[in-house]
Amino acid sequence: MDQTDPGSNDVVDVRLLAEIVGGVEQSFVELYRRRHNDVYRFVFAMAKSRSFAQDVTQEVFLNVLENASRFDSAKGTVRAWLFGCARHVTLDRLRLERRWTDDMPPDLGTPNSDERLLADQRVERLHAAIARLPVEYREALVLFELQELTYAETAAVLDCPIGTVRSRLHRGRVLLATMLDETEQAALDLKPSVAASLQTREVCS
């Protein structure tokens, strides 16, 4: 996606959406090409599952076919509107599956050195912690921190005041730091016992 000029991007998106309402097939394909990765990444950041993100992305674009005429440019960009659709579908599915956190293995790239491995582990741990956050903090953090929406856009997607977004972001960050702290504490506590267990095995063998 071209991030250099978000304004002109949105003009194009709005035009495509209008053409979709008018029944132009090519515009639908074009909008899909432009925005499906955004939707996919948002859902993947929320649920930390590739298959889940793929299903939701498909459903979101089917919803676009049905509801393109409901888009109101006064309320925000097409990208934010798509995030709003994706959010609804994601929450519905998570609720249906009674699965608020994800158990899928992470897949963010192949590490090529020890340093990269460490960084990936940290990123992976952070993503896992985000996926365990209560959903109201999670969606605010994902939209604002990871999808880089503004406060106003995030508020529009979440359909809440900007002040609520700010407080959710603050609480979400505090909670996230606490969770990461507990994770690292557990890792530190685990290390001596793992070492002891290895020594025991060596003695036994």
């Binding site: 097939e25 639908f28 394909v29 499906h36 939707v39 990444r41 089917l62 990871l146 990461l180």
Partner: protein, 178 residues
């Protein structure tokens, strides 16, 4: 949180790392032909829905007219029925409508002349009717335009046997009878 292993100041840089990592995530390739097919299917469905709505809309006017006609007919029928409303199908004790008693009280049933006699073992229907005063026009100066309400005692053979006037109309009836 300074006494814990996780330094909160690391959060923002790590979020930036995660943000960068997510940018590299690509959605799996989707068959565009399938996408186009879905679009066409949706467009077709929408067109069918629109046609269905148009068809439904085109039926609305005749349907409304038909409903209005039915309502009007119903209203007329109700008015006719109200004019000759059977109030009840009851067994009326014949003793209560003896000619002697009837002459004393206007509200009691009075046997009609030239009608079959009342029998205690027969059942009768009471039918409420409204009779134009012109039917009683025997006294000059009597109001001619009005009507009075009366109950008819009708036998199983459909012939009226007796009549009873409402209390409110009693005076008019007595005037008319004179």
């Amino acid at each position: 949180m300074s006494n814990t292993p996780y330094d909160a100041s690391r959060l923002q840089p790590e979020l930036a790392q995660l943000r960068a990592a997510l940018r590299t995530v690509e959605a799996p390739a989707v068959d565009e032909a399938a996408l186009r097919a879905q679009f066409l299917e949706m467009r077709q469905r929408r067109a069918q829905n629109a046609a269905g709505q148009r068809a439904r809309r085109s039926w609305r006017l005749p349907l409304a007219a038909a409903a209005a006609v039915v309502l009007a007919l119903g209203g007329i029928l109700a008015a006719v029925v109200m004019r000759a409303e059977p109030t009840a199908s009851v067994l009326v004790p014949v003793a209560a409508v003896q000619p002697e008693a009837a002459s004393a009280a206007v509200s009691a049933f009075q046997p009609l002349q030239n009608s079959p006699s009342l029998s205690p073992s027969s059942s009768y229907n009471v039918v409420r009717v409204r009779i134009p005063l012109s039917a009683f026009a025997v006294v000059p100066g009597t109001q001619q335009g009005g009507s009075i309400e009366a109950d008819l005692l009708v036998g199983e053979d459909g012939l009226a046997r007796a009549i009873r006037f409402n209390e409110a109309d009693a005076l008019l009836v007595s005037v008319a009878k004179q």
